[in-house]
């Protein structure tokens, strides 16, 4: 070290403590802080908006998770219903008889009709189903708990204000008075509304539920998965592992990326023109819905599969090739097992997108009014988002809260699917 020649001037020492250096550092720190604050502000805005969305849905939707019921006594008269053929009894008469028992003092015909309006129009169907399920009920007098009709439900939930002047209410004073006698006798009760999940659609909001839509969505997603998953993976493997890099494969690649960006309504039109009009598949069927959704999900699956395959370290591929694995062995034994967590995650997220898709399903008629769940993929059905669309369009007061509740149910499914995707990713990737 001593032989360093003296005529070489050592570099001037940097004065880190000088005012200029300090000011510069301060400025750089300030920039760091600003960047962090922008990030926090962005996240807060996003969380706030999400909070407003969920908050407003919950504030209107929570009402639909309970349903006001009235308990009435009905005598199942063997003259009206025979135990041999319980399906074709005169249940309407039995129910009106029950209404009369509920209000023994009311004799006037008009008042009795008003009283009958308290209980749901579907009461006779509920009773009929009970009797069909248990024929021994014929001849007995049973206590039947049925939903009250929508205006009274809203009244009990305080959506209709009893203190408003009569002409600005949906229910007049005498109707409210009748209902209040029931309340006083303890026959009115608000219960968890399982019908929202387990019943199908109905013209009467108090009876309407999502079962048909849930089953329809399930079938459509099943078809969508069964088609898009294998085709998507096979296409991705070909493009990633076998396809030569030339103009044709470039063209295919560009088109797949474009396909992912095509507005969903276009797929709906395509489904209508091709699957329904050309192939003659049934309208409104989950099969057609699933096919259309598969077209939309396919690009997503192809893209995530290719990315997952690309993400497998090349050393694994070389290791397999190096001991003489053939191409399919490299792919099936080494690349796919390592890529599958990513593929599954992407697929589930793609399916979640498909679950929320509305426009294409409206175009192929999956917004029919149906009072029972589809029995298979060929039968007419609705789906969750189209059911929401139908309900949002209905004038009855009860459908307002049911629409919000249905959106919450849909969001619940979406969150569950995304949670599964995250769980699978963290779970399966640990083997890496």
């Amino acid at each position: 070290m001593t032989d360093i020649s003296n005529n070489q001037t050592p570099p001037a020492a940097v004065d880190w403590a000088s005012g200029k250096a300090k000011a510069l550092r301060k400025k750089r720190y300030a920039a760091d802080r600003r960047l962090r604050y922008y990030g926090i502000a962005a996240i807060s805005t996003a969380v706030l908006l999400l909070g407003i969305l969920i908050g407003s849905l919950v504030s209107t939707g929570y009402l639909a998770f309970v349903q006001t019921h009235v308990t009435m006594e009905v005598a199942i008269d063997p003259e009206q219903v025979s135990a041999d053929d319980p399906a074709s009894g005169n249940y309407r008469a039995i129910v009106s008889d029950g209404v009369q028992r509920l209000f023994p003092d009311v004799e006037d015909g008009g008042a009795l009709r008003a009283a009958a309006g308290i209980i749901t129009n579907g009461a006779q169907v509920i009773l009929r189903n009970r009797v069909i399920a248990d024929r021994s009920l014929v001849g007995q007098t049973i206590r039947l708990q049925v939903p009250v009709s929508d205006p009274y439900d809203q009244l009990y939930k305080d959506v209709i204000d009893r203190d408003l002047p009569e002409n600005r209410r949906r229910l007049n004073d005498s109707q409210i008075a009748l209902f209040e006698t029931l309340e006083d006798r303890g026959l009115i009760e608000a219960k968890a509304n399982w019908g929202l999940i387990f019943s199908s659609d109905s013209r009467f909001p108090e009876l309407a539920g999502l079962a048909g839509a849930i089953v329809g969505s399930f079938y459509a997603l099943l078809v969508c998965f069964a088609i898009s998953f294998p085709i998507g993976i096979a296409a991705a493997i070909y493009l990633e592992e076998f396809a030569p890099k030339n103009r044709w494969t470039d063209l295919i690649e560009v088109n797949i990326n474009n396909l992912a960006a095509v507005p969903s309504i276009v797929f709906g039109l395509l489904g209508l023109a091709v699957f329904i009009q050309l192939f003659g598949l049934p309208r409104s069927a989950p099969l057609v819905g699933g096919l259309v959704l598969a077209l939309m999900t396919l690009p997503t699956i192809i893209i995530v599969t290719r990315n997952s395959l690309k993400a497998v370290p090349p050393s694994i591929r070389e290791a397999a090739l190096g001991i003489g694995a053939s191409r399919h062995e490299v792919i099936l034994h080494h690349l796919l097992p390592l890529a599958i967590p990513g593929i599954l995650t992407g697929t589930i997220i793609g399916l979640a997108q498909a679950l929320g898709e509305t426009a294409p399903l409206l175009l192929i008629g999956m917004n029919a009014f149906l009072t029972s769940p589809p029995g298979g993929i060929m039968e007419p059905a609705t789906a969750l988002p189209t059911q929401i669309f139908i309900w949002a369009d209905s004038p009855e007061r009860g459908f307002v809260s049911r629409t919000s509740a249905a959106i919450l149910v849909l969001l619940g499914f979406l969150i569950t699917m995304n949670a599964i995707a995250i769980y699978l990713r963290s779970r399966l990737e640990r083997r890496w």
Partner: protein, 271 residues
């Protein structure tokens, strides 16, 4: 480029050093990556049951030549090879040649240990399984155990054969990769800087192992360490800028190289 080719030609003439029994022969090997030429008329014989080391500065084409010997370069779209490479006199670039069989006969160990993310047992058993070398489970187990023993790894892992191979130390992983290569009974083993990711002790183990393996296998090793080349190989080939500058007995290359560039490189003056 023209000048390069001239130099290459000159060496092609002086460098043909036929060996008594060459397992593999490269004749006028030229390799192109797209328009860029990486190897110029390389003529090199790989002696049977010998260790041949390939040395030279970074980017001179050692890996490229090595990867031609089992056609791993086929997997690079832009790579193109012109020339002849034979294994036991058979042209390995003949279109009729089965690459899967070739790679089973000419195994490879890579720079970075790359065990499959599977158990130790599965790592070694994979090759024999796909090539159908074991007729039953006991056979397979025997192959796995002997391979691990040959790779002097067995004692360290015999109690954890079913634990993931990725859980081993770097040196153990590399020996596992060697065991995996041995398990398909290759005739030639290619090793591309097998010790560059390892510490001196693990390196010493692998070198010892290479010396033992020489009894049964033909080995080609790429290395940046002169000492390693001197310790493990019988023959050494020095590459420079895509040209095979000099090839000969290791001792001769390190003590009395005939080319100035070789001399400069082995004495540490460049590279």
């Amino acid at each position: 480029m023209n000048q390069m080719t001239e130099i290459a030609l000159e060496h092609a003439i002086t460098n043909v050093a036929p060996q008594v029994n060459a397992k593999m022969r490269g004749r006028d090997v030229n390799v192109f990556y797209g328009a860029k030429q990486a190897l110029f008329d390389v003529n090199l014989d790989i002696g049977e049951r010998q260790v041949t080391s390939l040395i030279g500065p970074s980017g001179c084409g050692k890996s490229t030549f090595l990867r031609c010997l089992n056609r791993m370069n086929d997997t690079i779209d832009i790579a193109r090879m012109v020339g002849d490479i034979t294994l036991d006199g058979q042209d390995i670039y003949d279109p009729k040649i089965d690459v899967v069989e070739l790679r089973a006969r000419v195994g490879m160990v890579f720079q970075k240990p790359n065990p499959f993310p599977k158990s130790i047992f599965e790592n070694v058993a994979y090759g024999p399984k796909i090539h159908g070398l074991a007729s039953n489970k006991t056979d397979l187990e025997e192959i796995v155990v002997t391979s691990l023993k040959k790779a002097s790894l067995f004692d360290e892992v015999k109690d954890r054969l079913h634990e993931p191979g990725t859980g081993l130390s770097g040196g153990q992983q590399q020996r596992l990769c060697i065991a995996r290569a041995i398990a398909v009974s290759p005739e030639v083993i290619l090793m591309d800087e097998p010790c560059s990711a390892l510490d001196p002790i693990a390196t010493a183990k692998i070198e010892e192992l290479i010396d033992e393996l020489r009894a049964n296998f033909t080995i080609v090793i790429v290395t940046h360490s002169m000492q390693q080349a001197a310790r493990v190989s019988q023959r050494t080939a020095f590459f420079h800028l895509g040209i095979l500058v000099e090839e000969g007995a290791t001792e001769q290359i390190f003590t009395a190289p005939s080319d100035k560039r070789t001399q400069d490189y082995v004495t540490g003056r460049f590279g």
